[in-house]
Amino acid sequence: MQEREIHALIEQVRTGELPRRAFIQRMVAVGLSAPMASMLLMHNGIAQSQTAVTYKPTKRGGGGALKVLWWQGATLLQPHFANGTKDQEGSRIFYEPLACWDTDGNLIPILAAEIPTVENGGLLPGGKVVRWRLKKGVTWHDGKPFTADDCVFTWDFARDPASACVTMGVYKDVTVTKVDSHTIVVSFAKPTPFWATAFVAAEGMIIPKHLFGPFAGAKSRDAPNNLKPVGTGPYKFVDFKPGDMVRGEINTNYHMPNRPYFDAIEMKGGGDATSAARAVLQSGEYDYAWNLQVEDEVLKRMEDSGKGRIYIVPSGDIEFIQLNITDPWNEVDGERASVKSKHFAFTDPAVRQAMAVLADRKSMQEFIYGRTGVATANFLNNPQKFRSPNTKMEFNIDKANQILEAAGWKKGSDGVREKGGKKLKFVYQTSVNSLRQKEQAVIKQACQKAGIELELKSVTASVFFSSDVANPDTYGKFWCDMQMYTTTMTQPDPERFMDQYLTREISAKANKWNLRNITRWSSEEYDKTFHEAEAELDPVKRAALFIKMNDLPVQANIVIPLISRPRVRGASVKLVTQLSGWDLDLSGLHNWYRES
């Protein structure tokens, strides 16, 4: 999709020809995130849609206890130390950011008085400065007022390497200054089209200066409030047992009227996904369950009890296969899979193309994932009707045979194709996971019919996904012909996501396999496009460049996207939630209630 087409679409939204939501879906289809698409519209002066939040309760409290189940329990409640989303979710009960993302990619103000726009003077020309006005009259749970000082402090805390915050990446390159008690300015070193990162969503939770102030830097671990959060959120902290239970009670001074509805919240951790689904869908002991990675058939059977239902929330996670274009089996310059080596088969574009048409995504969706996975040919989430014309989803064994035949790979006496004495025998690795092993079997079967022999290998997830330098089986090393896993696109701006195909990001011994280009694919065109996008100020041009970057590795068949995996959540039939695929589950917690 070219810049021109995007401009035309934006014009259509402006005139009302194209619904806003359709525009966003279309952008998501070509690989952008909903928040980024929404920001494109904002830049072009099209106001955000007012998401109709249906919140019926007319008074605060009275809803009893809300019981939610996270089968991986929160281990800490300091949002800037979070090891994963489970910790961010636990913190989000108590802490709030300035704004969060809804499922259509709209920015919703929480602690901000309004979302900065060009019209209200929040976005200054030049794209380097954002002025946030903070909501007045908000107090911390201990009664102290929430002011601009807290925002400045949060930035200062998170960017300090000595504090060891995982959110450092968001805050280290911005400068935050206080204008008055309820106005801050976030300035970027260079023009930044996607400015909604600091103080927004999961990584934007603001911590109180008066409690964390004495514990900035190296003393950060000693702050007593790491375990006793004092935030501005709808629920006040009661009790926390790492890995087991987070409890909160209603914040009667909450800054939004009639909210929250529940008198208390309990977040229980531990156990496994299947029994979590059972506790919500079958026995009704719990109101909400996170991340139900369970086979759809099992979920459907549980739903029949009528106590709860499954929510499928679209997001940017993709299950995909990577093909190794370097030689993973022999050492070159003292390193396996060195960039200097060449894979005997996957450097041949014909073999890669054959592998791509041998991926039977439809069967995977139908027989393995059910509602919890959507077959996709694009690297990013792709609703059927907006499929990018550039990438096709095709399963065709005959075609694969033809391609390989034409490229000179002839079948030997054992039915395996070979050329120049090299047989098409590959080792195909993934993590141990019942769904993944079934996918491997589907691919293996199709490959067999095309004269390719696959040896399946599965590695324990804790090893596969580790960055252990000494272990040969990590996904970062990729010492294998092909591998499969799910990549998550949690951040709304694709810049960091797309750097995973850059030449400078190639994962190798010299960088302890810590960098992100695992396929070790290198394309001048891709690098050029990325650098163009980095420097591009016009958000529409930039979006077009990112769409092009999406297409490049997929068209080269370096990666074979298989299944787009939406978030799967379970909730009791009476619970009204507000879930977003672009933010935390609990980002809309203040709007949750139970229907009578």
């Binding site: 994963g84 047992k241 229980k268 580790s466 998550t488």
Partner: protein, 319 residues
């Protein structure tokens, strides 16, 4: 006796040291990374992860890390969890009460079942009671707890809807309803663990009593005209229980260690679930502390069992 105790304690020290070296080396050699979740999150730049590793000393050589750990441990500092950044002793202290209550109760249940059933079976061997009890015991210890656990959940929680299957350590409230809630949620885990343990103990008690009941002094006691009840309780059981007492004493460390599988099924926040979480996420300080405390307890209870043995049977002396 005093010198024996001293000698045993002195022997225990090098074994503890040895255990800690082995544990630490195995953990250091095991694959994995506590910051794995950060590694797969593209939002977090790799330098953040490397900085955390450096800050927590994960990049130091193994022997250096071990010396650091040992020095801190000797001063009573157990270190802190890499993941929750909470002191390990706090984490353990949070989990101990639940573990003691649930596992302790299940051991009591096991004893309450094993003793009477084993004794009666042995007094009347190959009777109908014995046959039924033996069959049930065999079934009991051949069915693993994860199977019986899920079976009970499906029956009592899903089908009948009588009992909750998610264990909550801190139910708000007080008085009888509060106690009743606790009992209700503890019934299933205690039953699963208690019956599993009880089944094997029943067999031990039965064979121990069977060994004693045919001895001549029992016949003598009967010949004296003592009531059958007195013969069994005072003369048979007392002697028969010596090996059983040792067995139970050696089982005690497990009470602290929790039951990993059962705790996972019922979401009991005990030491077992703390340990398995720590292992799955490579949280070395927590794994070290929990396993080290367990090995201390094993050594301690071994000693207690030996002492108890001598107290029960004065013919055994300490030299």
């Amino acid at each position: 006796m005093g010198s024996y105790l001293l000698r045993r304690l002195l022997i225990a020290l090098p074994s503890l040291l040895g255990i800690s070296v082995v544990l630490f080396t195995v953990l250091a050699l095991a694959p994995g990374d506590p910051f794995e979740e950060l590694a797969t999150n593209p939002n977090v730049p790799p330098e953040v992860r490397m900085m955390l590793r450096a800050k927590f000393g994960l990049d130091d050589p193994v022997w250096q890390r071990y010396v650091h750990w040992l020095a801190a441990m000797l001063q009573g500092d157990w270190g802190f969890s890499f993941l929750s950044r909470v002191n390990v002793d706090t984490l353990i202290a949070q989990r101990v009460p639940v573990t003691l209550a649930v596992i302790g109760a299940s051991q009591l249940l096991a004893l309450a079942v094993a003793l009477p059933v084993g004794i009666i079976s042995a007094i009347k061997p190959y009777s109908w009671f014995d046959r039924i009890a033996s069959t049930l015991a065999f079934i009991g210890f051949s069915l693993p707890p994860f199977f019986t656990g899920i079976l009970l959940i499906l029956l009592f929680s899903i089908q009948l809807d009588w009992l909750p299957f998610v264990f909550r350590a801190d139910i708000p409230g007080s008085g009888w309803p509060w106690l009743w809630e606790h009992i209700k949620q503890a019934i299933m885990p205690i039953t699963v663990l208690g019956l599993f343990q009880g089944a094997s103990w029943t067999r031990y008690v039965r064979s121990a009593v069977l060994d004693v009941v045919r001895l001549e002094y029992v016949t003598t006691a009967r010949a004296k005209g003592l009531a059958e009840r007195v013969v069994i309780l005072k003369h048979v059981v007392r002697n028969a229980l010596i090996p059983v007492v040792t067995l139970v004493a050696l089982q005690m460390p497990a009470v602290f260690g929790g039951a990993i599988v059962t705790e996972q099924i019922f979401r009991v926040p005990g030491i077992g679930s703390l340990l398995i979480d720590a292992i799955l996420r490579n949280d070395t300080p927590v794994i070290m502390a929990v396993t080290f405390v367990l090995s201390c307890l094993v050594i301690l209870f071994n000693l207690i069992a030996d002492l108890l043995y001598g107290w029960l049977d004065p013919r055994i002396s300490y030299r």
